[in-house]
C-alpha cells in the first residue's frame, strides 16, 4: 500500500540546514491503523506532509499504491491528493462560509462531479458520521466534535485509499477525543488504511501499530493490542 525507503528531508535555516528526516524506512499494508508518535521536532509532521504530498523529500523513495511519488507538478500533486488521500487536521480546517454539506462536497467539486451528484454523495457521508440533521448548519454552529466529524466525512467523501490525520484529537476534550477515535476505529474496521500523527499515548494505543520517531529516525515500530475507544467513553 505504502512504501517508504531511505527518506531524507532537511530544511535550510540561514546558512546551515536542519536535517529533519534521516533515512526513514516504513511500509504500511492495506487496512492498517498506524500511529506515528514523537515529541515536537521529531519529524513526525514532516513525514506526514511528505506522505500527504504536501511536501517533497530530498532523497529516498516513496511509493503509494504502486505509484512512485516523485517530482510531482503542483497540478499532479493536487490530483493525487484528491484521488488517494483524505486529510483530517487538528484544527478541522472547515471553510466557515460553507455549511457542513458543502464542506463535505468540496473534494468532490475538485473531482469535477456535478452539483447534484456531489451533494448526494456528501449527504451519504454526512449520514455516516451521524450529522445528517446538521447538514445545513455552518461550522460555527457546530461543536468541536461535530466539526471534526464533518472534517472526517469530508476526508472520506472522495473515497481515498489512505486517511491521514494530523493530531485529530488535539483540539478536543478527552470524551470527544474518544468519540472521534471510536469513529476512526470503525472506519478502520471497515478496511480503511489510516495514519495518525499524535503525541498522546492513549490515542496511539487505540491504533494497531505504533511508530516512534526521534530526531528524524524511527526508534521503535511495534504492533500493539488495540484499545477500543468506546470502552473509555
Amino acid at each position: 500500500m505504502l512504501n517508504i525507503r531511505k527518506l531524507h528531508k532537511s530544511y535550510p535555516i540561514g546558512d546551515s540546514s536542519l536535517h529533519v528526516l534521516k533515512g526513514i524506512d516504513l511500509s504500511v499494508e492495506e487496512g492498517e491503523m498506524v500511529a506515528i508518535m514523537g515529541s515536537s521536532g521529531s519529524g513526525k509532521s514532516t513525514l506526514l506532509n511528505i506522505i500527504g504530498m504536501l511536501d517533497e523529500a530530498d532523497s529516498g523513495e516513496y511509493i503509494l499504491d504502486g505509484v512512485l511519488i516523485k517530482n510531482l507538478t503542483e497540478k499532479k500533486a493536487a490530483i493525487y491528493r484528491n484521488k488517494f488521500l483524505g486529510f483530517i487536521f487538528q484544527s478541522f480546517n472547515l471553510i466557515n462560509y460553507k455549511n457542513a454539506l458543502e464542506n463535505v462536497a468540496l473534494p468532490l467539486y475538485y473531482q469535477g462531479l456535478k452539483r447534484k451528484e456531489r451533494l448526494e454523495k456528501a449527504l451519504f457521508h454526512l449520514e455516516k458520521v451521524g450529522l445528517k440533521p446538521w447538514a445545513h448548519h455552518l461550522p460555527n454552529e457546530l461543536s468541536g466534535g461535530q466539526k471534526q466529524r464533518v472534517a472526517i466525512a469530508r476526508a472520506l467523501a472522495a473515497n481515498p485509499k489512505l486517511l491521514l490525520a494530523d493530531e485529530p484529537t488535539g483540539a478536543l476534550d478527552t470524551k470527544t477525543s474518544y468519540e472521534i477515535m471510536d469513529f476512526i476505529q470503525h472506519l478502520n474496521d471497515e478496511g480503511k488504511t489510516i495514519l495518525i500523527v499524535t503525541h498522546e499515548e492513549d490515542i496511539a494505543n487505540m491504533c494497531k501499530r505504533i511508530v516512534r520517531l526521534k530526531d528524524g529516525v524511527i526508534m521503535e515500530d511495534i504492533n500493539v493490542e488495540q484499545v477500543r475507544a468506546f470502552q473509555n467513553v
Binding site: N49, G52, L54, D55, E74, K75, A78, I79, R81, N82, K83, F87, F89, N93, I95, Y97, K98, E102, L106, P107, Y109, Y110, Q111, R115, R154, A158
Partner: protein
C-alpha cells in the same frame, strides 16, 4: 470548460469573499464605476455639443471664406495709400476661373432700404443675390422658392423674405406669395419665405432680390459688396483665401504685402477651431476616463491581493483537498473580472442616466446646447471588453500570489 461559470459554488465563493468586507469592496468598485461614468457622460456630452454645433452650421458650406474690400494701407504703382477698394463682378469671375480648388464664388451686394407694405414699413438690409447663394448658405424655404436664373436674366422685380420680415409686414396666416411690397418705392413680388437660421454669418440677410435687379435699382454697376468663396472639399480653405487675395491685389493694383486692403472671414478656419476644440475635449475625456479606470482596476487588484492573503489558509485547505493551482487562479480571476464588470456596468448605466438627464435639461428645443448627447454602442462595447481585459490582467497578480505559497505553508498560516 466554461461550465464553472454556471456553478453555484463559483458564485457563492465570489459573493462570500466580497461580502467579508463589504465597505472595502464598495469603495474599490467606486474607482472603476467613476472611471466609466466619466468616460460615458463626458463622451456623450462632447458628442451632444458636436451635434448641436453641426446643427447650427448645418446650413453653411463650412469650407468657405468671405472677402470684401477695405482701404489700402500701402502706396503702390502711383496710388496713394488709403484708397478704397471696391470688388467687382470681374474680380469674382477672375478668382473663380484662376484660383485652384474653388467650388464656386458667390458675389453679393447689400444695402439698406425702406420697405413698405400698405401702412407698414421698416428699414431693412437688402441683398442682391445669385441663386448660388443657396448652395453656400442653405435657405430653409417655408413657402415658395429662392431666386433662380430666370429672375437674374430678366432683372425681375421679385423678392424672397425671411419669416421675420413676413411677421412684421403681414398679419398672421395672411397669404404672402404673389403679394407686392415696395422697396425704394419700386414694387416687388414676393416669391418665397425662408426660415431665419440659428447662426448668422455676416450681416443680417432678411430680404433677397436678384443680383441684377439690385444693380439696377441701387445703381451699382459691376461693383459687389463682398464675395463668398467655397472651396472643394479636399482643398485647404486657408490656401484658397491667400491665393484669392493675392490675385485680387494684383487685379486692383494693390501692394502684395498690403494686409488691410481686403477684409475676410474664414468660416473654414473658425469651424476648424471649434471642431478642434471638440476633438481635444474628446481626447481629454478618453484620457481622464481611461486613467481613472486603470486606477480603479488597480484598486481592485489591490483588494483581491488582500483577500487572497486573508484566505491563505483556506486556499491551503482547498489544495490539500485536491484543488489544482489552475482552479485556484481561475477563481481569483473570475472574481476580479466580476467586480470590474459589475462596477463598470453600473458606471455605464449611471452614465447613461446622466446623459438622459442632460438631454432633458439642455437638449430640448431648437437652440439646444446639446443635441442628442449619446455614446455609440461601439464605445460601450469597447469599454466592456476593456473592463474584462483589465480585470483579468489585474486578477493575475493576486491569482499568482494565491498559488505562489506552497500548500504546506498555507496550511500552517494562522
Amino acid at each position: 470548460m466554461m461550465g464553472f461559470l454556471f456553478d453555484r459554488d463559483t458564485w457563492q465563493e465570489i459573493f462570500e469573499s466580497l461580502g467579508k468586507n463589504k465597505l472595502r469592496t464598495v469603495l474599490t468598485m467606486i474607482g472603476v464605476w467613476w472611471g466609466i461614468l466619466l468616460l460615458i457622460s463626458l463622451l456623450g456630452s462632447a458628442r451632444g455639443l458636436e451635434n448641436a454645433f453641426n446643427r447650427l452650421f448645418g446650413d453653411f458650406a463650412t469650407n468657405s471664406v468671405f472677402i470684401w474690400g477695405q482701404s489700402t494701407s500701402k502706396p503702390f504703382k502711383g496710388f496713394q495709400e488709403g484708397r478704397f477698394v471696391r470688388l467687382t463682378l470681374t474680380d469674382a469671375r477672375n478668382v473663380e476661373e484662376n484660383v485652384e480648388g474653388i467650388e464656386f464664388v458667390v458675389p453679393r451686394n447689400q444695402s439698406q432700404g425702406l420697405v413698405v407694405r400698405n401702412q407698414l414699413s421698416g428699414t431693412f438690409g437688402i441683398n442682391g443675390d445669385y441663386p448660388l447663394l443657396d448652395r453656400v448658405q442653405k435657405k430653409k424655404m417655408i413657402r415658395g422658392r429662392f431666386i433662380n436664373e430666370n429672375d437674374i436674366n430678366e432683372n425681375k422685380k421679385v423678392v424672397v423674405i425671411s419669416d421675420e420680415i413676413y411677421k412684421q409686414l403681414f398679419d398672421k396666416d395672411e397669404e404672402m406669395i404673389g403679394e407686392l411690397i415696395q422697396i425704394k418705392g419700386i414694387n416687388f413680388k414676393i416669391i418665397g419665405v425662408f426660415e431665419t437660421g440659428n447662426v448668422q454669418m455676416g450681416p443680417r440677410s432678411d430680404i433677397h432680390i436678384p443680383f441684377t435687379t439690385f444693380q439696377q435699382i441701387f445703381n451699382q454697376g459691376d461693383n459687389i459688396g463682398w464675395m463668398m468663396i467655397t472651396g472643394k472639399p479636399d482643398y485647404n480653405i486657408t490656401q484658397i483665401e491667400a491665393d484669392a487675395k493675392l490675385m485680387l491685389k494684383n487685379l486692383n493694383q494693390i501692394h502684395p504685402e498690403d494686409n488691410r486692403a481686403f477684409g475676410s472671414f474664414n468660416l473654414g478656419n473658425e469651424f476648424k477651431k471649434v471642431t478642434g476644440f471638440l476633438v481635444g475635449m474628446q481626447f481629454l475625456t478618453w484620457f481622464v476616463g481611461l486613467a481613472t479606470l486603470i486606477a480603479g482596476v488597480f484598486a481592485i487588484g489591490n483588494i483581491l491581493l488582500i483577500t487572497v492573503k486573508e484566505r491563505t489558509k483556506e486556499i491551503g485547505v482547498r489544495r490539500a483537498l485536491g484543488a489544482t493551482p489552475f482552479e485556484i487562479k481561475r477563481q481569483v480571476i473570475v472574481e476580479a473580472v466580476f467586480i470590474t464588470l459589475v462596477s463598470g456596468l453600473l458606471g455605464i448605466i449611471s452614465g447613461g442616466l446622466i446623459l438622459m438627464l442632460l438631454n432633458k435639461s439642455f437638449g430640448q428645443g431648437e437652440d439646444a446646447v446639446l443635441v442628442n448627447p449619446s455614446v455609440p454602442l461601439v464605445v460601450v462595447f469597447f469599454s466592456l471588453v476593456l473592463l474584462v481585459g483589465l480585470g483579468s490582467l489585474i486578477g493575475l497578480i493576486p491569482a499568482f500570489k494565491a498559488t505562489s505559497i506552497k500548500p504546506i505553508d498555507a496550511l500552517r498560516e494562522e
